[in-house]
């Protein structure tokens, strides 16, 4: 056990070093802009949306599953919460609506996976397509603006406390709660058990099916929260929100050292992985480089991160 802990710590150490290296690159290449507090705030705000989704994704992947529907579910939640009908009930109902839609979509997917005995990859792929279609249908493929009377939602992005926009606190809260649930509750321990060896978990008296369903509901819940953040940042709900977020979230989780086969992983690692990605985007734009090179860099980083992790594991076992 101590060995495992040490491996995990070492893995985080590698990620922290990578982050520091990127920060050093930023300080050298754009000395007047990179280190400013407003740029750091901007990076955190940028990371918030996918960050919240990544927390949910980490649970699902540790539990041995995968959720491809996250971006589409977030888009659906943002659209549902910004229809004129929903908007007429005010900002609180809009936020609750986003969370309920996200959780509901997650529950449906989770039910099909656990009780319908279907493969997560396929169910969530179906959900991805269907949720985006429903979002397009609901919004008539238009961008839905948040009405002025509901600007309380937008204020999550514009209001700052101690220099940070409120949505960064939402992100931080989700990370802290996620960490507590994963590391300090039976739900968290069961997640590791279910992902590591479902049969053993079942024999140990865990209701594996119910637990699996709850994991996808949790991921959906995170998508709902992310929808509130994206609504605040863009002042809109749209069926185009969150395109390919599933890939960014999965990549962040993998870079963070979570095994795709389940049973092992950490939330801190995922968040560090995500910050590395966000930092790269920021660095490229600060230096006026184009998006194509950025994609190449991200691809390389995924490969390098996984190679390093494998080597790290092999040398210790």
């Amino acid at each position: 056990m101590t060995l495992l802990v040490r491996v995990r710590e070492a893995r985080h150490l590698g990620l922290v070093v990578a982050l520091l290296l990127l920060a050093a690159v930023g300080l050298i290449t754009s000395p007047d802009t990179f280190g400013t507090s407003s740029n750091l705030v901007s990076i955190l705000a940028l990371a918030s949306t996918i960050g919240v989704i990544t927390v949910g994704m980490t649970f699902v992947i540790i539990g041995g599953g995968i959720d491809l529907s996250v971006g589409a579910v977030m888009a659906l939640a943002s659209v549902w919460a910004t229809t004129l009908a929903t908007q007429s009930y005010g900002p609180v109902v809009m936020a609750v609506c986003a969370v309920l839609v996200g959780t509901g979509a997650g529950l449906v997917g989770g039910f099909l996976i656990s009780y319908g005995r279907m493969v997560p990859f396929i169910v969530t792929l179906a959900m991805l397509v269907a949720a985006r279609g429903l979002a397009q249908r609901m919004s008539d493929r238009k961008t839905q603006l948040i009405q002025p009377e509901n600007s309380a939602i937008v204020e999550l992005s514009t209001t700052r406390v101690l220099g940070l926009p409120l949505l960064v606190y939402i992100f931080a809260l989700v990370v802290v709660v996620g960490w507590l649930v994963l590391n300090r509750t039976t739900f968290g321990r069961r997640t590791y058990a279910v992902g590591g060896n479902p049969e053993a978990a079942r024999l140990a008296g865990i209701d594996v099916r119910r637990h699996t369903m709850m994991l996808y509901a949790l991921s959906g819940l995170c998508c709902g929260i992310a929808a509130i953040i994206i609504m605040a940042r863009t002042t809109t709900g749209s069926s185009t929100h969150g395109d390919l977020y599933e890939l960014d979230a999965i990549a962040a989780v993998i870079i963070g050292g979570t095994l795709l086969t389940g049973g092992r992983g950490t939330i801190i690692g995922s968040i560090l992985g995500l910050l590395i990605f966000t930092l790269i985007t920021n660095l490229f734009i600060l230096n006026g480089l184009n998006t194509s090179d950025q994609l190449i860099a991200k691809g390389l980083i995924i490969v390098i991160a996984v190679l390093l992790q494998r080597r790290g594991l092999e040398s210790r076992t």
């Binding site: 802009t33 407003s38 740029n39 940028l46 185009t240 920021n282």
Partner: protein, 352 residues
């Protein structure tokens, strides 16, 4: 043989009914949208050409509307066709799949429509089926994305991407020159960088700026979506502490760009948009933000295309021109909408 025709007829009617239900289903989302101005733009001219003439069955195919601009194209075409008692409008299910659009156009050819209005997903890839229509004696009005082969269409009508960049470049260049700004920081937020239309826009922008001795300081692409508009603008604002002007290619993604600007609390510069959405026009009208102008790439071209298609099918020319037939190609000018003239453009703006 008979049977296959029957089946195709059934397919076409299915597609038409499908499109119809889609439209009615969509309108149900707008009970309180009274504040929004005209959703569709249909012009009623004052010449003999608008008098009822020979009956015209008009096929219409366009990509699926995942963007306000394309949604407005379909709406405008439909609304314009409804203005005419002599036009039977046959839209097929919109799709973003090249393969599906090809077979949709094939069903329209089989149904022997009198004229086709086509906005292809990709001009190159739809070229062959458009040619097939022309060979079958059905004139094709090519909307916006051009077919490479001139035998594939009777008339092309579309916007001027290069001209759009020029219009934006002139507005920004002139304004900065008048202000006497030396070495200004000019940012450009593109749509999808890999598209030829984006490259044309950027080239026009750079060329026009060059005539004032200016150049683009930094350029990023934002995928035409609100969300990536926010992300890219957020980062660009960090990269440049003092900005003089921004040109954003697309008003839909502009909503996100403006949100990021507001979030950053910046207002030392002015911004020019692109396409001409109703939303951007309302912002220009209120004058409360950084958005001062937008250069049009107007979906009203769909209304014009329907009018032209009808004239072609009826064998008439354009009443303001001397010729007896409709011209082979019409490039719309990119117009600059500012606070001074926005009133005249608001009815033409499309809802994002």
């Amino acid at each position: 043989m008979n049977r296959s025709v029957g089946r195709r007829g059934f397919l076409v009617s299915g597609a038409v009914v499908g499109a119809g239900t889609l439209l009615t289903a969509c309108t149900s989302n707008e009970p309180e949208a009274a504040a929004a101005p005209t959703q569709q733009t249909a012009a009623v001219g004052g010449t003999d050409n608008d008098q009822p003439g020979t009956r015209v069955v008009m096929g219409f195919s366009a990509p699926a509307a995942d963007h306000g601009w394309i949604a407005a194209i379909a709406k405008n075409a439909e609304a314009q066709a409804k203005q005419y008692a002599d036009v039977e409008f046959k839209p097929v299910e919109p799709t973003n799949d090249i393969n599906q659009q090809i077979s949709a156009v094939e069903t329209l050819i089989q149904a022997k429509v009198d004229v086709l209005v086509l906005l292809p997903n990709d001009g190159e890839q739809l070229n062959q089926v458009a040619r097939k229509a022309m060979d079958a004696g059905i004139p094709v009005v090519n909307l916006d994305r051009v077919f490479p082969d001139k035998l594939s269409y009777r008339t092309w009508v579309g916007g001027d991407n290069y001209g759009m960049g020029v219009a934006a470049g002139h507005y920004i260049g002139k304004k900065l020159k008048d202000k006497g700004v030396a070495d200004p920081v000019i940012l450009e937020i593109q749509g999808i960088a890999t598209l030829p239309l984006t490259q044309d826009r950027s080239k026009g922008f750079a060329d026009a700026l060059k005539s004032y001795g200016f150049s683009v300081t930094a350029q990023q692409d934002a995928k035409f979506t609100v969300e990536s508009g926010t992300q890219v603008a957020g980062n660009l604002l960090q990269a440049h502490k003092k900005i003089d002007a921004i040109w954003n290619h697309d008003d839909d993604q502009g909503i996100g760009v403006l949100a990021a600007i507001k979030e950053a609390g910046r207002d030392e510069f002015f911004m020019v948009g692109g396409a001409g959405s109703a939303n951007a026009m309302r912002d220009i009208q209120s004058g409360s933000g950084v958005l001062e102008a937008t250069v049009t790439y107007s979906p009203t071209m769909a209304s014009s295309a329907v009018k032209l298609a009808r004239l072609i099918a009826q064998g008439k020319g354009m009443s303001d021109l001397v010729e007896n037939q409709v011209p082979q190609s019409i490039t719309l000018a990119s117009e600059t909408v500012t606070k001074e003239n926005v009133q005249a453009y608001l009815p033409l703006g499309f809802e994002s």
